[in-house]
Amino acid sequence: MDAYKYIGQPVVKVDGKEKVSGAALFTDDLEFGPDLLYAEVVEGPHAHAMINSINISDALKVPEVLAVVTGKDFPYNFGLYMNDRYIFAQDRVRFFGEQIAAVIARTPQAAIKGAQLVKVNYTPLPKVLSPLDAIKEDAEILHPDLKNYVHVPWFFPKADTNIAHHRKIRKGEVDKGFEEADYILEDTYEVPRYSHCAIEYHAAVAKYDHSGRLTVWASSQSPNTQRNLFAKALAPLGIRHNDIRVIAPHVGGGFGSKAGVTMEIMAAAIAIKVQGHPVKMIWNREREFYNTYQRLGVVAKLKIGVKKNGTITALKHDLYWDAGAYVEYAANVVNAVGLSAIGPYNIKNVSIDSYCIYTNLPPGGPYRGFGYSEFLFGLESHMSRIAKHLGIDDVEIRRKNMIREGDLTAYGAHMNPNGLLEAIDKVAKEIQWNTKIKSTDPDLAIGKGFALFWKAPAMPPNASSSCFLKFNEDASINLLVSGMDIGQGFLTVMAQIAAEVLSVPTSKIRTENPDTDRNPYEWQTVASHVTWSCGNAVKNAAIDARDQIFSLVARSKFLPVESLYLEDEKVKCRTQPTFELALKDFIINGIQMNDGTYRGGPVIGRGIFMPEFSSTNADPETSQGGHPNVHYTVGAAAVTLEIDKQTGKMKVLKVVEAIDVGKAINPDLVKGQIIGGLLQGISTVLYEEMKFDHRGKMLNPNFTDYKIPTALDIPEEIVPIIIEVPQPDGPFGARGMGEHPMIPVAPMIANAIDDALDIRIKSMPITAEKLCLEILKSNK
């Protein structure tokens, strides 16, 4: 039973009024006065080339241009998990559009004009545009220095190749498993790159003042990680962590693109060259596509063996990732998938090889789902194909093989408590899985598709969160955390957690996006981990404050601590029903004793959280032995899809998705995430498609030709289902769910198409055009 007052309630977003009224300020809204300068980057027109010379003299002659910086000014590399990236290109460019220099001027127009006048002389090099080409023996090597790059201990780069990391899983006896199989299905699935398409562009303003203080205002998911990487990259200039202050205004969408560090480091570095001036750098839509992060592409070779009754005997999954020119973040996507590419199944014999491969395409990086959408496309397509071959129901084969609490994951750790079976059953019921629908229009075919999903946060084993909780005189609270509200409702959920522990209503809790000087440490707002991790820190801070309150009341009112509790912003006592003391009467100024003296003082709560059980220590040849993932969030989804057989156009008539969130701290926000995530997933299947030409230049870096859904493209019916099997170490049992809604969409739609038309599509996206041409082929 729920005795909670704030947890589990659809509390209105704490930043809602600010955003709806227009009071919310985003990075580009901030005013910096007349000293503000603007920076424009110079981009390389080659996917791979040596830079012979850069001539900046004409650019410097443009009136109002103050400075031009190039790679020579910042000969430092940096990166989140591997230092393979540079602030500006050094001796070579590795993707089309890579930044080579920046022009700093008093107006954006002068900066653009100056950038057009920077002359660069190149010698083009052979380029590698696909991961399979990049691992050929005679392939051009993109990073001859790979062996010297600093990286985290759980990466295994292969020197003198384009393989930046190889995650390998060996569990059980795979060959034997396949021998035992009655049926083996082997096939290749391809998932191309995608773009996040946050509506707000990347933007950063940096100021290096004359005292040596570097302040950066950036649209960011990761203020602390940015500060850390700026400090590490700029350390040779004598800059320390405490010299840097990152301020994060509101963010207009992230989806992973604003995690880690991309263009912001240019603004930070440039500012040092024009000391005293704030410098603004703002991306445009084109650069959002080709010079931030892109979702990685993958070619996945999948082999699954099963018994006649559908029991899986073995899985072999080889994933070749197109990780792009720099993989400082992308390599961890590859790693995460390597650990989890068995999907939510209990499989005894497993072989996984996940290769992070350099290509001369824009850098890959984190994107909502972190590789899971990509491998689940093949895996969940495969499961339905196997079911069809064996004549077993799609839902039944999943029930039979699904992972349960206590089963072993691919790396040998135990699966956490979860409600996967409940999710499967509820989704099957809601979509009326056993009822076929037929259209009365002969041009229309209707099919249903099912898919399971799981995902774990991918993060270092010591990724941590922290919180300061400050009471004010009226017992209102300033809750200081460094997670980012990127639209998902993070701040509201943190306020709810503090409210529950302290009995202070959320309307009296102010919690805002962070400033690294004011707010305590948070690793990053990624990995669907902040509700869980930062939520624990907030809960700990609230408990810390509550303990201080009880201790103070106990010693000043002579009541046993165990008898005290909080209700309606008052301290009450179980043994003395008439006793009550309002928080506002003592929370700052203490409690007066009979002799006129006071006890107490301002109550300040402090909370931290680090998952102390997590470890990446494992045998690199098998990945057995560690505990790299803290937990998995699981779920199921199904769709009813209508297809126009003449045009290939698809319409989602109904989509159902159930996720085991442990505890929905705010069910409205959970439903919002499910609906938004499903739409984003549907978009990657039906509409979005990145096109590159033979030079490696992206041909459609704009919304004219890279389509994301509008209000007109929303499915007719969306049913979000919340499952709550508590996460033992989650705040009030909660676990993360932000990324998950989108990850089952691609195979679910591919399965529905197969159900409707008996046509199996094995590459994404599945646009109307692709499907129509397949239908025409099958009619011949």
Partner: protein, 292 residues
Amino acid sequence: MAIPYEFAYEKPATLDLAIKLLGEHGKNARLLAGGTDLANQMKQGFRVPQLLIDIKGIHELEVIRMVANELHIGALVTFNDIRSSRLIREKANILHEAAGMVASTGVRNRATMVGNICSAVACMDSATPLLVHESVVHTLSANGEKKYPIQDWFIDNRKTAIQDDEIVTHVSIPIPEEKYAGAYQKMMRYSGEDLSQSNVSVLMLSDKQFRVAFGSVGPIPKRSPKIEKLLHSEGISKETIDKAKAMIETVIAPITDVRATKEYRMHMTKVMFERALNTAMERYKQPRVISY
């Protein structure tokens, strides 16, 4: 993104002043109405006019009215003006239907139909409805008025018959006296705003009289006399429609580009032609000319 160069801006209050300015500056000037195409071109440096002549202050160009049996649509009439005009909805439903598929509401609030046919980008939406209505483009310059039948207006992708000193004042659409009905079909990648990858307009004037135009499947939009003749001589049947669909292969020349392959464009044009034809016939059966 800023326009990275400087230019002059004038906003004349009368048509005479605008013509005078245009006469003086010719090629170096561009007329600004909705600006939805021009502003992007200037930002990207595709066009670098030295003078923008903003015609939004010339109110006589805002006209939508019947003059005898002609529907006149002025140069400042936006696509959302078209959408909210009962007159256009009743008299030229194909244009009304097409206007609703142009870009998004925000763009339709600014973008004008005349701007659309002056930019003359191959994927424009207003051309095929105007073609099947045998519309006329009216221009004015210091030398007086000129009329261009719409079929002579489009020269190439982004190129029209207009002269540097001319302003399009309006388009006139002759309204047939007999009963008629039409339909517009547009190939789009999703339901949101999209540039057409192919579009078809069909106007039905009698059981045997049809006008058919194809857009976005060649450098300029065009009518197909061949298909119109086939429908006229053989009458509507499954067989005739199949023949007409096969004939489309000889009429249009779609290309493969970032938006679609030529194979899909060809296939979709056939499907859309049949659907437009069926819709036009459905609508023709209605008791009066109404709109959709």
